[in-house]
């Protein structure tokens, strides 16, 4: 039996977002949405995390950080890109320092659209991330 679907721990990283998506991510932890019901924890430590939730795009300065966080996460791990910025660069795509979506740097498993992404769709993205996590575990096990 696999326990990944019952205990997905999340690391939330804010790239160059406008903070709109971050507020929605945090809203998922509040009493209204309460993702802890599904065993989701917001860990803040890449070494404990199963799902990397990235909001905002990558720029010249944070490429290294995103890569580093991803590398520090033990397998199996998945990446969920939250919001238009994380998916493609969003409204900042043409800015001089922006590289584009998160998939320019690390492999992304789930794309959550929206500007800002709504908590419902973020939770949905996490649920799809869990499925991807299960698939990866089966492959490595």
């Amino acid at each position: 039996m696999s326990f990944f679907s019952r205990s997905p721990w999340i690391l939330h990283y804010d790239g160059s977002s406008c903070n709109g998506c971050d507020i929605e991510v945090l809203a998922c932890l509040t009493p209204l949405y309460d993702v802890e019901r599904f065993g989701v924890l917001n860990t803040g430590n890449p070494k404990h995390a199963d799902i990397l939730l990235v909001t905002g795009s990558v720029n010249e300065r944070n490429i290294e950080i995103v890569e580093n966080l991803y590398r520090q996460m033990p397998d199996p791990k998945v990446v969920v890109a939250v919001g238009a910025c994380a998916c493609s660069g969003g409204i900042f795509a043409r800015a001089y320092n922006i590289q584009g979506g998160i998939d320019k740097v690390i492999p992304v498993d789930v794309y959550v659209p929206g500007c800002a992404a709504r908590p419902e769709s973020i939770i949905d993205g996490v649920v799809q991330g869990i499925a991807a996590l299960e698939a990866k575990r089966k492959k490595t096990a």
Partner: protein, 284 residues
Amino acid sequence: MTPAVYGVLFVFLAPVFGGLLAGVDRRVSARMQGRIGPPLLQPFYDLGKLLQKQARQVNPVVEPLLLGHVFFMAVSGVLLLSGTDLIFIAFVFALAALFLVLAAGSVNSPYSFAGAERELVVLLASEPFFILMMAAICKVTGASTYAGVLASPQLVAVQLPGVLLAFLLVATIKLRKSPFDISTSHHPHQELVSGLTTDMSGRMLAYVELAHWYESALLCAFMVLLFNWSVPLGLLAFAIAYALEVLVDNSTSRAKWQLVLRSTWAATLVFSGGNVLALFLLSR
């Protein structure tokens, strides 16, 4: 049943007890925050997941040290229930905690290292109390083993109310509850990243959790020592104390280590020391 059987039972039942306690804790905490909270068995799911996840070996000594941590936590319980001298238990208990400090201190992460240093501070804060508590219990009951204390006609909590009070304070440290959880950073607090456990992944973290479950069970056993006239009463007292701890955990912010050290030493000295001194003077 012979005491040795109780010891063996502890090895298998204490994790179940500790895990369920953690599950209840998370649910009650969630309710206090207006949330529904995770399923009761969530800590077991988490443990299962951690065991299935890849464990990054930061260096070759972390795993043996953490295994030592779990082992000595379990051994303290086994020795306690199978009739070893109570004061000796206090030392084995400290030794178990020391293994965790060594494991966390052996890695390069500054967060882990800071966590290890703080764990040493809380060890320094709590250890004198446990030794004094055990000595006081032995003195009052005239027995030096678990079964002996339970069989004693003396009512420990009545004779040692100060020790009971200080125990509640020190238990906050051992149960890793705010405001005294300075060395780890249990979710949802994220000070120091994850403190002691920052560099531990997969089964390494599972060992730490497991050891903590043993530790909770051990504290419950200590509570029964204090309420030695009936085991159910001791369990009830532990349940009430734990509910208080959860309330305090949810309504306070973390203290600085200086405050932790000062307040626990003051409680040990004033409440426990005063209690023992008063008994001594009265009995003369």
